[in-house]
Symmetry: D5
Subunit: 120 residues, 10 copies
């Protein structure tokens, strides 16, 4: 389990110019191969992260989004904290007009959890 | 079939500090391995309990939620009563901004039932 | 095909005290084993009846609901009439704050039908 | 491919008295065995027609609805036109308070189409 | 990878007279066999394009819509740009009262994306 | 619950001449609307009966098969006995080269059962 | 309902040279848009015809297979007879090394049927 | 967690006379509401038990099978041991010609297990 | 539509040393993004190609397999011919102990086809 | 990407005494949360590993199997090699009478792969 500071992560996210900034439209990226580590048990967690956003001046570049998510592979962090952090990072770099981040996790102890955050 | 008083159950639920109390976000815990006992027939009932809530100052700790639900394993209690009691216990301990509790039960006598309660 | 008057049917439905009359909550009973008889062809009809209601002072007792629905087994009655009658019987005995009755029927002549009634 | 005038078709539709005209309720008839002929290619088209309506004084008789739809079996008519015509015929005979007609068609050339019309 | 100008593409789209311009109704065309080329990697992309529109004076002719979409087969263009371009072309030729274009793409690098644009 | 003797039931089954007795081929009739009565509890049972057979000189007439199965509607008989009886009746009247009868029952007390018999 | 003689139908089926007659391989054509007419009730029947064959010298041409099946659109013929006839026609024209024809029919009177014939 | 000896469990299983001992036929009982306790963690396990057997002189009575399985509710026993024990108990009491017992368990630690035993 | 000779295609396929040539094991590659062109209509075809093989001395390299399949993007070739050709190319380069190639195609004219070839 | 020698991995696997060594029975462990690293691209791979085995003297302990699989989390290894290695490790420690290992991988470049090995 490593600890990385915020800017290390945000620097990975790249953007490109929105091809249609004159209108609102919605982009969804569905990322089913997310994994991090439970800080309590040291066991890996597995989940899906879904980004749904209305771009403003820029769109997120897909490959950089994938690399960004891979940075959590050996991070120790709770469901609730990770989802809020991903939203904050995305907002800081992409500055979307609207954003929803959902995380859906595989079962642990017979329970499974989903977290949803909307911005603004 | 045993009888346990309220505080015995609520004491099991543990919480941790909400990592993002400055915003509303939604947490769903889906618990498909619930079982209790029908007080009329003495036969076991099986169901799924789904919690969907917006945390305020604290979030519910997942393992304690599982232990809390297991306390009903040998309790004799009706569908309608159990669902209301679970909501009341959750509200008392977690004090969420919003909460919905759903219980979905396996068929009995060819009928199956679902109960949904929203708070506030 | 027999003919039974209304009170014969309603007398079967039993209720118990609502454990949480101070709040609105929703109960759904899904009854996939309904059968009656088509009054035109004398052939059996098969369907699912779904009750979704907000109880007021009382809740319907599940076993009596099953026995009530079984009383239609040899009744000759059309889809539209039966669904209205079931709603009227339920309202008369259970006096719910809100109620929706849906009936969904297996195909006849290559067509299948669903009826939905909301009260009030 | 034959050509039939409007009244020939509408005369097939039969109705019966609404058993509960004092309340609004919804009837859905799902008809997955519809076929007509493409006027351009002469090839058969296959689809599903779904009627969802709130009856006023009368309900449509199910067998006559089936016979009505079968009359299109050898008619040459486009998706958009046929769906509008079916709605007009239904409104003329059944005079519902509300009506939605949907037609969903099997793929042609790798594309499949759905048409939805609401009345009034 | 070729480059074609706008009018080359729009000229392919054909229309026919709306059979019921006096009312609003909805037409959905679901096109699961779309392919273009990623301008960055030169690799083919595969997706589904869904058009949902309310026609005004004309409807789009189905075969021409298919031919139009096939023109992108060897075009190098990004997800976000292509979806906006398809919407602009459709609006320019069909002039619908309302339109939604969705593009849903097969996974790349373990992520899959959907774009949705509504007009006006 | 009535009691009917064997010949009453078998007399309902009708047959027609096999159009291709010179070859073995397989016919499957899937009958999902079967209902009888549990002789122990007096409660209705619901199931699906599937006939899979290779006809010899005659095939079973479909409408008579349906009427035959409806005769069990108010019969009190166990799963195991009913399935054996249906096989015996079918063999007696249709004299197939091969036959399999399966009965699949809706859940009772949280358990569901299937019976399969092959002839010869 | 019309009556057409055998050669009228078989003449529609066209073949092309097997590109790999030196080996056995299997071709499946799945035809879900089949319709004919019940000779007893005059009502349309709907089904799926599946051809699975090992070609010998020739393969069946797909469009001619479609046209062949469309010829049954207004033919009055029973499930068992039609399936045998289709097999006989296919064998006569395509002369496959092996062939299986399956027909699967939509429900009639709450029952649905499948016929399977293997050659040789 | 209690400990019960073998005869306590086997005494619960009841049988009735096989209605067709002259032929082999297959009975499947699917029991999705099984629960026991993990002897290592003290946590409840949840699973489905499926019995598939050819009866000899007797069949198992369904309600007694359910009561038998409920006796494991508070037993501490491993997956592999429990499945073997259930098979042994069933064989001792029902003496079937053939038997297969399958147990399928809900996920623990991200893994789920199935055990299958055949007799003889 | 272009025409490419055999060696152009086979040269794309690359292999790597089988890590376990001392035992038989099975590798399946499922390729759902295949497209070619119908030589008759000039219209694109879409399908899935599935390779299931037992490697001998070498395994096929996944990225080269993808590049190989992309070479058919603008080739005009029939279903039956293309599937045989892919099998021949794979055998020539990978020399597997066993191989099955399946191609499954999206519907054309309401029919869809699958081809399966086994080697040797 | 780290490199670990064989004994490091095998030492993690623990076993317990087979409770029924006198008979053959089958145990399946389904492990959907496997991840390793592609040695060529350095990108993570995700898959499901399924073990199906007949135990001899010992069974594999479930938690140790999970810990064993987690050791591959940062290993750089190809699909074909990893599956063979897992089989070899399992055989070395558990010495089963029979074993099948399947690995099923999420799509890469639009293709997805499955490997199956049987022992002996």
């Amino acid at each position: 389990m490593s600890n990385t500071n915020e800017s290390d992560f945000r620097d990975i996210l790249e953007v490109f110019e929105n091809p249609a900034p004159h209108r609102d439209f919605t982009i969804e990226h569905n990322c089913p191969e997310f994994t991090s580590v439970c800080p309590k048990t040291g066991q890996p967690d597995y989940g899906t992260i879904v980004f749904t956003y209305v771009p403003d001046e820029v769109c997120v570049e897909l490959k950089s989004l994938k690399m960004y998510l891979q940075r959590f592979r050996n991070e120790g962090i709770f469901y609730e904290a990770i989802t809020n952090r991903i939203l904050d990072d995305f907002v800081a770099v992409v500055k979307p007009r609207k954003l929803r981040v959902e995380s859906r996790w595989t079962p642990r102890g017979g329970l499974n959890s989903n977290i949803t955050i909307e911005y603004p």
